[in-house]
Amino acid sequence: MSAALVRISDLHKSYGITPVLRGVDLEVRQGEVTCVIGPSGSGKSTLLRCVNHLEKINAGEVEVDGELIGYRRRRGRLHELKDRAITRQRAAIGMVSQNFNLFPHLTVLENVIEAPMGVLGLGRAEAVARATELVARVGLAGRESSYPRQLSGGQQQRIAIARALAMEPKLMLFDEPTSALDPELVGEVLAVMADLAEAGMTMVVVTHEMAFARQVADTVVFLDEGRVVESGPPGELLVAPRHARTREFLARVL
């Protein structure tokens, strides 16, 4: 059994006076895929956004690879890090969002090489070589000079995955990666993600695709009202949930 790459403990987060996360504990081991499921408004996306500090947290802590994310501890208090330090932490954590958010004014190739060149300081030749390989890996070889709007939703999402992978992250976060896609395009994105899991990438996936969770996840976490209700291997949690709330939710989505 390998060590935990992500360790979240007693994470609290509220927007104004509305609590969203009320003490979440979660561990993700190196090389494992964790799928987070739950009803809308349960805090799934917020949880992911806390892992790369797109959201400031109210209490608790998030650790990735043994490093506290977004804060440093001094005399029993958490001090928020400077932008530059947070930026460095984010560079090692890939994120793919529901709306792809490719940069529309840049071509596919430019989208993928932008951060490796600008953030990691890679030379153009090296960045282009890496990008070309990744674009091929997500099945879109030859589309490097297309603009995002010339691609289908599924193709855009695959490029978004390639763009995140170009930073060679140690962890990939997926925030409902297929929710904005037409049903017939969902499969191609999930296939790329399954390949990635196969290759040993550590992944946290917020999803409504139960079939994907069943086949690819090592652990499924059910989140409701800002708390982890239960977690376990998909064979147990999806088949024989222990809690009534989980059963209720699964009955509605399966």
Binding site: D83, T87, A91, P104, R149, A164
Partner: protein, 305 residues
């Protein structure tokens, strides 16, 4: 179904004959178009045949040295104002969008003041700055001065004009740039943050290029406004296009034809700028549509081929 049609579907699928579609006739359109053309023709005829326009005088002075020098002044004033104004305006927009309430307030206050004061009034203030501050000093605030100069020496008519036009332009530019930045989807910034990009780089590489799509049309408007706005500098006897023709007609009293000289030049420069704007907009539209529409030039070439 007529038997002669090449594209006739298989006989089993259709039995009823296909009727021809006749669009609604709109006689009103023809009548109104004809009326407008008649009025237009009458106007053109009167302009061409009315001797008071003195088109021969217009032609004579159109490329006179004084006029061309005035045109040159107008052009460099416009360019300088645009560049400085947008540089300052972008800085103001960044302040306005920063999280710092003091900087936001200062930026807001600047825009409020400089949009409220008419440009001409402002130019007069700058020209008379010596009355407000007889000397300008460089030193530590509330402390000793290092250098001190008389402001009347420093701010002559040209400097007053450049300062006034720039500060005025910056107030509008700040709002144009801010509007453009706000129009870029927040998800773009988040995607860039998630890739580990810093704030400055995100603004330069991701936000501003996309903001340009809404900035360029507004900036083109501002540029044309500035071009014509520079004519107020003639009040301070700065020898721009308008002041140059005024110099001439004050001597020979050919007021109308010389005003026409200036007018035609303003129209020419504005037309060139509009065409340039079209191509700049096209450049920033890349990626916005699946395919860019052809330029008028490409369309013409396509038709001739």
């Amino acid at each position: 179904m007529t038997a002669s049609t090449d594209l006739a579907p298989p006989p089993t699928t259709r039995t009823a004959p296909v009727d021809t579609v006749v669009p609604l006739r709109r006689p009103g359109r023809w009548v109104s178009a004809a009326l407008v053309l008649v009025v237009l023709a009458a106007a053109v005829r009167s302009i061409v045949t009315n001797d008071a326009f003195q088109w021969d005088v217009v032609a004579e002075y159109f490329t006179a040295d004084v006029v061309l020098r005035g045109l040159g002044t107008t052009l460099w004033l416009t360019v300088l104002t645009l560049v400085l104004g947008f540089a300052l305006g972008t800085a103001l927009a960044v302040l306005r969008l920063s999280g710092n309430p003091v900087l936001v307030g200062v930026s807001w206050g600047y825009v409020w003041v400089f949009r409220s004061v008419p440009m001409l009034v402002q130019l007069l203030f700058w020209f008379n700055i010596g009355a407000l501050y007889p000397t300008l000093s460089f030193g530590i605030p509330f402390g000793p001065d290092f250098v001190s100069v008389s402001s009347t020496n420093l701010v002559g008519p040209t400097a007053a004009v450049v300062i006034g036009l720039t500060l005025h332009e910056a107030a509008y530019a700040a709002e144009i740039v801010r509007g453009g930045v706000v129009s870029v989807e927040q998800g773009q910034v988040e995607a860039a943050l998630a890739l580990g990009m810093g704030r400055g780089r995100i603004l330069r590489r991701i936000v501003l290029p996309q903001a340009m799509r809404s900035i360029v049309p507004a900036a083109g408007n501002a540029l044309i406004g500035t071009l014509k706005g520079t004519s107020v500098v003639s009040v301070l006897a700065v020898q721009d296009l308008l002041f140059s023709v005024q110099l001439i007609y004050n001597r020979n009293y050919l007021i109308i034809p010389l005003l026409l000289v200036a007018t035609v030049w303003y129209v020419v420069v504005t037309s060139v700028l509009s065409a340039a704007q079209y191509y700049v907009e096209r450049y920033y539209a890349r990626g916005a549509a699946r395919a860019l529409p052809p330029t008028p030039w490409q369309r013409l070439k396509g038709r001739l081929r």
